[in-house]
């Protein structure tokens, strides 16, 4: 499948070295302990902007480098290894994708260059309850003389505290549960009637609950066609899911490496604990899961780049298999480290907490098994 190109391999090395040296898990811990309201360090994000990573899927005419999703995945995987916190996925991947796939020429002109260089962030506001359910969109967009008025709320919006604009899924017809009747709107954070509240979560990232109390937008705030937003929303979400899967793979791979290292170094009963077959076989099993998950993640990203017709299916596969592996791996990370694994001083807990948040975002494993079943017709 996806053997990396020379360019991608170079980028992978660059991202790995940068994350390790400049945005390591120690830095994430510092950010967490500082009580940072945005859930990421501004300087870290500025460096990411300078390196151009937020423009990886932005077309060149709008200031990006247009290198595709597999390339983006390569970077996200490396940042996932260090739990590097930033709006790269929420804005550089999801926000940019929304504009590329659904934005008007004017919207693209206005936002893509700023997304690409990291000077502005745009995030997707889709879910309204704690569990991912895009079709259940209830937030109402009512037609006014000059546009629409938005009323309702969005929960757990990724990087919602720092975002400059939101791509909001709203209902223009039908009722919650219907895919038809959903429209997407691009709403600036400063719009009157829009309020946001920080949600403090176990993974210490920047989530917000966003309220829309009769937020007035003009007709040109529509992103794509009215009532027909579900299809493009699904495509945006799928790209987000593939990106998340890459990040999850990195988070899990790092957990695997930490565990393997411990198996080779921790001595009990006069031997390294990795010499106990009970543990050796578990490591071998996890390695097997990791290799299989990697194939799924790369295939999904490649399929997006190739414009294949099985993108949805592969994205659900990738999100689910990377999620299963990360879930299992993060538990084993703790268990195999014994007492040390339970301490906050050690990093295992940070990975465990991040793991569950990544699993829940844009559909957990159960969501994607169900979706996969539907897509393959069983």
């Amino acid at each position: 499948m996806a053997a990396l190109t020379e360019e991608q391999s170079l980028l992978k090395e660059q991202a790995k070295a940068w994350a390790r040296d400049e945005a390591s898990v120690a830095k994430f811990r510092e950010m967490r302990d500082s009580g940072n309201e945005f859930g990421f360090d501004k300087a870290t994000w500025a460096s990411i902007g300078e390196m151009g990573w937020a423009g990886i899927v932005v077309p060149e005419e709008f200031g990006g480098v247009d290198m595709g999703y597999l390339t983006f995945g390569v970077v996200l995987e490396e940042l996932g290894r260090q739990l590097t916190a930033s709006p790269l996925l929420a804005s550089g991947l999801v926000g940019a994708t929304a504009l590329v796939l659904g934005g008007s020429e004017d919207q693209k002109q206005a936002w893509l260059p700023k997304i690409a260089d990291g000077t502005a962030t745009v995030t997707l506001a889709v879910d309204e309850g704690p569990r991912h359910a895009p079709a259940r969109t209830a937030l109402a967009a009512e037609k006014t003389g000059s546009g629409y008025a938005l009323r309702g709320h969005k929960l757990h919006v990724l990087e919602g505290m720092s975002a400059d604009a939101f791509v909001v899924a709203a209902r223009t017809s039908g009722s919650p549960g219907d895919s038809a009747g959903i429209s997407l709107f691009l709403v600036e954070a400063g719009a009157s009637g829009l309020s946001r509240q920080r949600l403090i979560t176990a993974d210490s990232r920047g989530y917000a609950s966003v309220g829309f109390d009769g937020v007035e937008v003009a007709s040109d705030a529509l992103l794509g066609e009215v009532d027909r937003g579900a299809e493009v929303l699904d495509a945006i979400l799928d790209r987000g899911r593939a990106g998340l899967a890459a990040e999850m793979l990195g988070t899990a791979a790092q957990s695997f490496d930490m565990t393997l290292d411990y198996l080779k170094n921790r001595v009990q009963f006069g031997q390294v604990i990795g010499s106990f077959q009970a543990l050796g076989h578990r490591a071998a099993g996890l390695f097997t899961e990791m290799e299989m998950a990697r194939s799924c993640v790369e295939a999904a990203l490649q399929a997006i780049d190739d414009g294949s017709d099985d993108v949805a299916q592969l994205c659900s596969l990738a999100k689910c298999k990377a999620g299963d592996f990360l879930h299992h791996m993060s538990n084993e990370l703790i268990q195999i480290h014994g007492g040390i694994g339970m301490t906050d001083e050690f990093d295992a807990g940070l990975y465990l907490k991040r793991a569950r948040a990544l699993e829940a975002t844009f559909g957990n494993q159960a969501f994607h098994r169900d979706r996969y079943a539907t897509l393959i017709g069983i």
């Binding site: 309850g129 569990r131 077959q277 009970a278 014994g338 007492g339 301490t343």
Partner: protein, 406 residues
């Protein structure tokens, strides 16, 4: 044991009446939350009062001999008491406020202690006046506990203790610590260990709390620097500490079998209710998430088979107070079930199941994330899941010991 049905029913009526009179109704069902902390908040005067009355009655330690302050009840009477406590949604705070006193140290003192040790230590545990910690693990002696190196030297009229313990739960707030020390360096690893009871209020003892992934810091590094232990504080014979210590571990495992009767007070909502609220139901009243439904059902079946096994083991063991090897099986089953449950709750609650603090999350949600995180330790402490499996393979199944030691 020998209770006739009538006598047992008489006792049940007595227990019910006593609870009626002494257990404050305002505390009913609050056990869940209260049992998660090691001490009762000073402002909770009713809870403090309840703990005191329970201790004076000896019913926090119902089966311990009355002469040392226990309840002096038979197993069947104790069971009836627990059932009545569950009915009244009462709970036993002493299980937490004595640290490891009731679950582990007390039973071991009763079994191995001298008369003098029983008289000095047991009544205080029964009344909930003392907090016990346990100093077994060391940085290099976890699963391989027998390789411990904290040492005690005989200096004539007392022992001098030096070394470091780690992961000592509650060491910083404990009054006493049961410590495994090396007293003979020439003997085989397991034959040179003794069990000392050390007074924690002395200059030679230092503790450094370690924060856990769930945020709280109930465990510590514990340093002994020329700490003093009296001669009459050795539990069991000199160099017989491994036997004493292992026995205590059996009590620890027995307390981790998932038998929660009389402890929790049933404050938590059922899984079914949580699932229905978060995942929703379809037109036929089934959970809308079919995948979750089947995994939740598998879990509930596991939980049921665990509790049936627990009941069967209890029935079979009735009459003999012996802690059997079956406790090892139950410990792994109990931690598996509890960890599964916590994972499912967090999953069902979606992003709300990962709330940490502040607005936007219900107390139940904030509780769920902590229960999930702290529950990860269940398969690590008291002999890890792997070590339990080694014990089952070796001691119960009779498989040869190779590298699978422990």
């Amino acid at each position: 044991m020998t209770d006739s049905r009538d006598e047992l029913e008489d006792f049940r009526a007595e227990a019910r009446a006593w609870l009626e009179q002494n257990f404050p109704k305002s505390l009913a069902g609050r056990g869940g939350a209260m049992m998660r902390s090691e001490s009762i908040d000073e402002s909770e005067s009713e809870a403090l009062d309840w703990a005191k009355r329970l201790g004076e009655k000896g019913w926090g330690t119902p089966t311990w001999p009355a002469e040392y302050g226990g309840g002096g009840l038979t197993q069947l009477q104790a069971q009836a008491l627990h059932q009545e406590m569950d009915r009244a949604r009462a709970f036993n705070p002493l299980i937490r406020t004595t640290g490891m006193g009731i679950t582990m140290v007390g039973p071991t003192i009763l079994e191995y202690g001298t008369e003098d040790q029983k008289q000095r230590h047991i009544p205080k545990i029964c009344r909930g006046e003392v907090f016990w910690s346990l100093g077994y693990s060391e940085p290099n002696a976890g699963s391989d506990l027998a390789s411990l190196s904290t040492r005690a030297e005989d200096v004539g009229d007392h022992w001098v203790v030096n070394g470091q313990k780690t992961w000592t739960s509650g060491a910083d707030i404990s009054d006493w610590c049961g410590v495994l020390v090396r007293t003979d360096f020439k003997a085989e690893k397991r034959d040179g260990i003794s069990f000392l009871m050390i007074d924690m209020h002395q200059p030679g003892v230092e503790t450094r709390p370690i924060r856990l992934i769930g945020g709280a810091s109930p465990f510590c590094e514990t340093f002994f620097n020329d700490a003093r232990a009296e001669k009459n504080e050795m539990l069991g014979e000199l160099n017989a500490g491994w036997t004493v210590g292992k026995r205590l571990l059996q009590h620890e495992r027995a307390s981790q079998t998932g038998a929660t009767s009389g402890m929790g007070g049933g404050a938590r909502r059922s899984l079914r209710d949580v699932a229905r609220e978060y995942a929703g139901v379809d037109g036929d009243g089934r959970l809308a998430d079919a995948d979750l439904r089947s995994r939740l059902t598998a879990h509930m079946m596991d939980a049921k088979s665990h509790s049936l096994t627990l009941a069967r083991v209890t029935a079979e063991a009735r009459g003999s107070a012996k802690v059997s090897a079956a406790a090892s099986i139950l410990k792994n089953a109990a931690s598996l079930v509890a960890q599964q449950r916590a994972e499912l709750i967090v999953e069902m609650m979606g992003h709300n199941g990962l709330g940490w603090e502040g607005e936007g999350f219900s107390p139940e949600e904030l509780d769920a994330v902590r229960a999930w995180l702290s529950g990860k330790a269940m398969s690590i402490y008291g002999g890890s899941a792997e070590i339990q499996n080694n014990i089952i393979a070796k001691n119960i199944l009779g498989l040869p010991e190779n590298t699978q030691r422990g």
